[in-house]
């Protein structure tokens, strides 16, 4: 069964389980994190960024009926608000040197944000297909349109239209 068959066609409330790991920017533990820095607008969109660090552990989705659905992290598509944000002009004494340098090269301010999946919090999960193209096979003239199944996770109380930077532009 693929993820669409497991999750069903409609968005579903789930919880996430997996390997707890130290949060990248705060003292807590999370199941997944993604740290980005760059130019972030007030509407939450990013125009230029770097993702210096993110989890690489797969997670499990826990359904209300107890079903556990493993999901490779590469099949995740997160549409979340940042759990943590911090803005630097670049010249603050506590601004980390890599961010000062980034501001010097790209202009400021620079926003640091962390997106996270945490235990015991409900998420809205929706399986969907992503299309991509592969070249024509041997002796064929047409490329192959293929699809992969991915799982979008969003906060039911704060749904976002955009994916987090890490999951933007996957091909």
């Amino acid at each position: 069964m693929n993820l669409i068959e497991q999750l069903g066609p409609e968005p579903l409330l789930v919880r996430v389980t997996g390997k707890a790991q130290p949060d990248a920017l705060t003292p807590g533990t999370v199941l997944w994190f993604e740290v980005d820095h760059g130019h972030r607008a007030e509407d939450g969109s990013w125009s230029k960024w770097v993702t210096p660090w993110h989890s690489r552990d797969d997670v499990d989705l826990l359904l209300e009926d107890g079903t556990v659905i493993p999901v490779r992290w590469r099949a995740l598509r997160l549409a979340l608000s940042p759990a943590v944000t911090q803005i630097f002009a670049g010249d603050e004494p506590d601004c980390p040197p890599p961010l000062t340098e980034w501001v010097r090269q790209n202009g400021g301010p620079v926003t640091v944000a962390e997106y996270a999946l945490v235990a015991d919090q409900p998420y809205l999960a929706r399986a969907r297909r992503e299309a991509y193209w592969m070249p024509p096979g041997h002796g064929e003239s047409q490329p192959t349109r293929a699809e992969r199944v991915v799982v979008e996770l969003s906060d039911p109380d704060d749904p976002q239209e955009r994916y987090t930077p890490l999951f933007t532009g996957w091909l």
Binding site: E130, A146, L171
Partner: protein
């Protein structure tokens, strides 16, 4: 330890087992779908025992020592009845074979026999092509039971464990359930040279990893000498070592990321398609060298198999893994047309690898392709290229004179067809691949003329036929043409885009990534 009659077709002598080089950081293995029940060879008395070892082979006659992963008897009998083995030289052998491991049965002959049971006296159940992909499902007394596909059917059979070579799991998607039987693992032969490496050498195959191939091409284009140093061939073992940089740590206080340089060891066996023996995945370009396919295989080993690579990815992740430097990513929308050419020129001058991704679909508007009357209408939405398909969830049918209400499709990405819905709609369907739709309005509702019905939506496929820009695809930057146009490179090695003006580039491409490629060590 008793000697057994040879079952695997072979003409060459086997050799004594030996340890692999200790210098390899990461060895070829497959990391997914392996049972936790298995026990590594390092554990005495475990489910598997390490090596084939027969007395007459102690002299180690072969130039290329062969390690034979041998399962210990499941019931704990003393010793292993390992058959004599003669796998080819230069194949990767697992230290222990785990249940669920993916790989191939490899001998020096074109075919080999699968047995009906473990043991030398078992009857032949099936003769299979050498190099057939398989998965280990059981083991007993020096034999493994493997599952594979032949003739559209799943087959099981036993074979001496010594001819099993662990290989990354092949790519399988929902539409290609039979893929395993279409492929064989085939040796690329002699050393695959990187001598003439350039950023247009590698061509994507039947695997959704344009992000990897294009990222690799981007690095090769920026600094071929650096990429050359990423692949080392060891003529004494026939193995390749491929260098990657993997994230090691992140200091939240200093905001510094560290990388670890790893070398992934793989053999020179690649998945090939059926009888053609053509590369199934990455293929050689002009230089005819398969170095790119070797690198792709090494990344598959590191990532958990070709299937995991097919999950898609980011070009900047690839470039980061190849260079050990953090990639920078931007939306092209932040660039103006005047900034595009200077950006690429500057990046090229600074030695940056450049990767860019195209948008997923393009809008079409105001097509009036429908015919019909009396509330029943149908038609085909004309497409500019035969590859193009309608994008589910984007289709709207409106009456420009407002006699009937608007209709929209109910499809989601991946749907082959869906219905049309709307206040005045009694029924209707959209065939996305065939680009056709039909719509029935409720009794008493109809447009004054079929031509009043306009269809709008989005299509995917070729975004611009004249420029040959493919949707949802990764490209590497090649060069600036005539000082005012951008030449990108399609990792397919075919369907190359024409040079793009800045306006065209910004219209069709949404993401842009760069990374600093280090100097080759030999150049320092």
């Amino acid at each position: 330890m008793s000697k057994q009659r040879q079952r695997a077709p072979s003409s060459a002598a086997s050799s004594r087992a030996s340890e692999p080089s200790a210098s390899t950081a990461v060895a070829q293995s497959n990391q997914e779908a392996q049972s936790d029940l298995s026990v590594s060879s390092g554990e005495s008395g475990g489910w598997w025992e390490s090596y084939v070892e027969t007395p007459e082979h102690d002299a180690g006659r072969s130039k290329h020592p062969v390690r034979g992963p041998t399962p210990a008897d499941a019931e704990g009998e003393d010793g292993v009845d390992a058959p004599e083995l003669a796998p080819p030289e230069g194949i990767h052998r697992p230290k222990s074979v785990k249940k669920g491991a993916w790989g191939a049965l490899l001998t020096k002959e074109p075919t080999l026999d699968l047995l009906s049971a473990p043991g030398p006296d078992a009857s032949v159940a099936k003769t299979i092509p050498n190099g057939t992909p398989c998965q280990v499902v059981d083991a007993k007394a020096g034999y493994i039971q493997v599952e594979l596909r032949l003739g559209g059917k799943a087959e099981k059979g036993w074979a001496p464990s010594g001819i099993f070579s662990d290989q990354p799991r092949l790519f399988m998607d929902e539409k290609n359930k039979k893929l395993q039987e279409d492929y064989t693992w085939t040796s690329v032969g002699e050393e695959q040279s990187t001598q003439d490496l350039k950023g247009t050498d590698v061509q994507q195959g039947y695997l959704g990893d344009c992000y990897f191939i294009a990222g690799m091409n981007a690095v090769g284009n920026a600094n071929p000498d650096f990429l050359k140093e990423s692949v080392i061939y060891d003529s004494s073992t026939g193995m390749y070592k491929v260098r990657f940089y993997v994230p090691k740590g992140f200091d939240r206080r200093t905001y510094q990321k560290t990388y670890e340089e790893i070398w992934v060891e793989v053999d020179g066996y690649l998945p090939t398609e059926g009888d053609s023996k053509s590369g199934a995945y990455a293929r050689a370009g002009d230089d005819k060298s398969q170095w790119g396919a070797i690198m792709e295989k090494a990344w598959a080993v590191h990532s958990g198999g070709y299937t995991a690579m097919g999950d898609g990815g980011l070009g900047e992740e690839t470039m980061e893994a190849l260079t050990g430097n953090v990639s920078e990513y931007r939306e092209t929308s932040q660039l103006t047309t005047k900034e595009v050419i200077p950006f690429f020129k500057k990046a090229k001058k600074e030695g940056l690898a450049i990767y860019t991704g195209s948008i997923g679909s393009m809008a079409f508007t105001k097509q009036t392709p429908l015919t019909g009357a009396n509330g029943h209408y149908q038609g085909t939405v004309a497409q500019s290229h035969e590859w193009n398909e309608l994008q589910p969830g984007t289709i709207h049918v409106t009456d420009v004179k407002g006699n009937v209400g608007a209709a929209r499709d109910t499809g989601s990405p991946g749907d082959a067809e869906a219905s049309l819905t709307g206040a005045d709609v009694a029924g209707g369907t959209v065939d996305y691949k065939g680009n056709t739709l039909s719509i029935d309005y409720r009794k008493g509702k109809q447009p004054a003329d079929a031509k009043d019905l306009e269809v709008t939506g989005e299509y995917e496929g070729v975004l611009d036929v004249a420029k040959m820009v493919i949707a949802c695809h990764g490209y590497s930057f090649d060069k600036i043409v005539n000082g005012r146009q951008i030449q990108l490179y399609n990792p397919w090695g075919s369907s190359q885009p024409k040079p793009l003006t800045p306006t065209e580039y910004l219209r069709y491409y949404s993401t842009l990534s760069t990374v600093q490629v280090p100097q080759a060590k030999g150049k320092k």
